[in-house]
Amino acid sequence: MELYGPIVVLFAIALAFAIISVVGARLAGPRRFNRAKNEAYECGIEPTPTGPGGGKFPIKFYLTAMLFIVFDIEIIFLYPWAVAFDSLGLFGFVEMVLFIATVFIAYTYVWRRGGLDWD
């Protein structure tokens, strides 16, 4: 546990700095009301009305996030395997080759169905 303690100290210093900056800027800066200034910036014209929760966005971003989860899990499996590679022996090598081949099937499927194309 004493290994993780210093991280909390650095975290606390950074947090204190961030809070002081945000609060300090509030206190130090001027405050002058202006209706146009409080609108969302859109090059000087009236801002586009957005729906609740920020409005719509392209579905491609959602698909990318889903693919990320698949590959991130693959990476998380690869890390402990890589560290313990020398002690796992031939068994570890064969297992990971099978695993990578399995994920490659999914990868090929996504590629062929156009999941990796951006329009």
């Binding site: 290994l3 650095l10 900056s21 001027p30 910036y41 966005f57 990320f68 560290v83 990971m96």
Partner: protein, 444 residues
Amino acid sequence: MNGLESFGQDPWWLVGLKALAIFVILVLLTLFSIWYERKVVAWMQVRPGPNRNGPFGLLQSLADGLKLAFKEDLVPKAADKIVFLLAPMISTVCAFTAFAVIPFGPVVSVFGVETPLQLTDLPVAVLLVLATSALGVYGIVLGGWSSGSTYSLLGSLRAAAQVISYEIAMGLSIVAVFLTAGSLSTSQIVAAQQGGQEVTLFGTSFTIPGWYALLLLPSFIVFAISVVGETNRAPFDLPEAESELVGGFHTEYSSLKFALFFLAEYINMVTVSAMATTLFLGGWQAPFPASWWPGANEGWWPVLWFFLKVLILLFGFVWLRGTLPRFRYDQFMRLGWKVLVPANLLWIVVLAAVRAGTQQPEWSAQWVGMIGGAFLLVLLVIWFWPGRKKYEQATEPDTGLGGFPVPPLDLQVPPSPRVKRLTAEREPVSVSAGDDATAEGKEG
């Protein structure tokens, strides 16, 4: 423990001192690298760059920061107030925390206490860096979303998609380092690169550094490309593409909240440079010519080598920005998903096969080769597996009318009896009478 005995032994004041030192170094390095970037880009464009505040304009970024502190702190009317406030704080805190496990140097004596020049080290230190850099994306996404502006929303979505795509490439590229070093702890990865290799060439034998950048060159290349995407820097600075998105996710931010985002971006740059130094460039160990000098890796000298390497990598970032135009978004995603990821996976398997064949001679090299060959065969079969027949629309004959729907040209339509009658009635009209008829039509 597993080689981390020298960590976690510091008295409380030393922990505080080290944490404070890292904080101060990061802030100073940010101020310096903003100036450095502006100056280097200026030289590349044959202009002087900032030169008014302080010697060589060194205090320019400090002046900018102070000026920002006295600007109005705007919160747009459409913004989600709390999230809008939290987002820059998340970015900054995550950026700072990632630096906790970066090794600056070996064990030195600070006020009579023997301690390593590193805040702390964990058995899973690199995971901490990856985790904090991934959490930092929340600051960008929430900041853009909570601004209530279209530009900010699009900028933050781009940033999220970009960072998670390139995080995969980055995560895969450092698997090779863990495979070779056999550890996730940063200090042990540096120690594993210590031993140089004796090479005899043309009768003279010399030592080449055991840096992973040389041993694992493909990994280093992929890492270098993907961290540029990871930190949203040019030529991959699509979340802030000013020609399309004004300022991207920080369009609505002003005052010190904007400064915090700026700070986080530069700290992330420093962090990935320090990570590249630690994982691939031998960490704090002296570079090649200075490594002949026996005292180069002792005492406080390694701090100099470390920052020298970080500054050279930062110069690389600036060089990219000064040289390359911005990518198009689809090209950028294609590079990440279709080039870097499969190349990396293949490289990992090749490296594992080579390591299995050389490090453990009791495994028959034939076996490893056979498994590797079978694996490549399987990949090829998967890749060229016949897919479903694509639905193809029946093509129409080219009519020369640009795709306009026309009936077949050789279609024989039986003439209707009514048409026959009409032509029969028109038959007796002579040419001169026809002229009269048109004249009448015009009048009518």
